[in-house]
């Protein structure tokens, strides 16, 4: 073979051949098979799904972000509850008596739980002493 052979020098030629009248018969053979293959047009739901898919993508993303966010939030509150459970009751009482400031909402809660006799425990005074204090400051007539 020549050492200076260039592909561009070679005339293009298709060396492959087909049997006689092959391309005349092929369409009929294929059409025969398509009859057996059946034809299933795309259902309306498939056609509607294409534009919906584009619209739903950001919504799905938002949903995923929301689920992840709230899952993390729930885990955090669980951890906080676990930490609080490990604190001794006396420590909590000390903390509350030192730093807690009673607000009107607290009194409202106290009235709700009055049947459970928690007033004395919560204020760390006897019920009688608490009533005396309330009478002394005339809290019922005070406009909060």
């Amino acid at each position: 073979m020549k050492n200076d052979f260039k592909l561009s020098d070679l005339p293009k030629r298709n060396i492959y051949e087909v049997p006689d009248k092959y391309f005349d018969r092929l369409p009929a053979q294929i059409m025969e098979r398509t009859a057996g293959a059946g034809y299933s047009p795309a259902p309306w739901s498939a056609a509607a799904w294409k534009p919906l898919r584009m619209a739903l993508a950001p919504l799905v993303l938002l949903l995923v972000v929301g689920v992840v966010y709230f899952t993390q939030l729930r885990d955090q509150s669980k951890e906080q509850a676990i930490h609080l459970a490990t604190v001794a009751d006396d420590d909590i009482m000390d903390y509350l008596s030192t730093y807690a400031v009673l607000e009107t909402g607290d009194f409202a809660e106290l009235s709700v739980t009055s049947e459970q006799e928690m007033t004395a425990d919560f204020l760390n005074v006897s019920a009688t002493a608490a009533e005396e204090e309330l009478e002394y400051y005339q809290i019922e007539t005070t406009d909060f």
């Binding site: 073979m1 592909l7 060396i15 492959y16 294929i30 293959a37 299933s40």
Partner: protein
């Protein structure tokens, strides 16, 4: 008949068969020769061509008309060829070179091949190329498709296709110079 007219007729159940028959007649040779150059054997090419058109029949309704019909057909045919050659290797546990050797043997023995020595040697040189590079070469050299069209069919960048074709030509020239 224009592709647009074929697709419109295909959408109408009453003219669907007629439209598909026209589609086959319009593209059968391009698809067949594209496949034949890849699988060499006529019977294999015949089976694959029919499979391609059956897939087209089943999926033409979903064809998005932002692509050209013939590039879509080429893409289906290309995928069929690559799957066929890949399954041939897996089925017989053959390395790439052995499939090339088998196809080379078919070039020498097939009754449906007629070429002079240099043309036969060119076909044997092509079989030494990787499948995808052979596809690029065939589509550029024989089918005279534009790089942009090949890019659409193969999903490869135009730059990569130009490089692939350039390397393919060099390899072929080297192979032919060897004797």
């Amino acid at each position: 008949m224009e592709d647009k007219d074929i697709l419109e007729k295909f959408a109408n159940p009453d003219s669907r068969n007629l439209a598909f028959n026209q589609l086959i007649r319009k593209y059968q040779q391009k698809i067949y020769w594209h496949i034949r150059k890849m699988v060499i054997d006529h019977d294999d090419a015949d089976d694959l061509t029919q499979e391609v058109f059956i897939k087209v029949w089943k999926n033409l309704e979903n064809f998005r008309q932002d692509a050209q019909l013939y590039t879509w057909l080429y893409r289906i045919a290309t995928n069929e060829c690559l799957t066929f050659l890949s399954s041939k290797r897996k089925k017989f546990f053959l390395p790439i070179n052995d499939v090339a050797a088998e196809l080379t043997e078919k070039i020498d023995s097939s009754p449906h091949i007629d070429g002079d020595e240099i043309q036969l040697k060119l076909q044997k040189a092509l079989l030494r190329l990787p499948d995808k590079q052979r596809l690029v070469f065939n589509m550029k050299y024989y089918d005279e498709l534009k790089y942009e069209e090949i890019s659409e069919i193969l999903g490869t960048s135009v730059g990569a296709l130009k490089a692939s074709y350039h390397h393919a030509v060099k390899k072929i020239e080297e192979f032919i110079k060897q004797d």
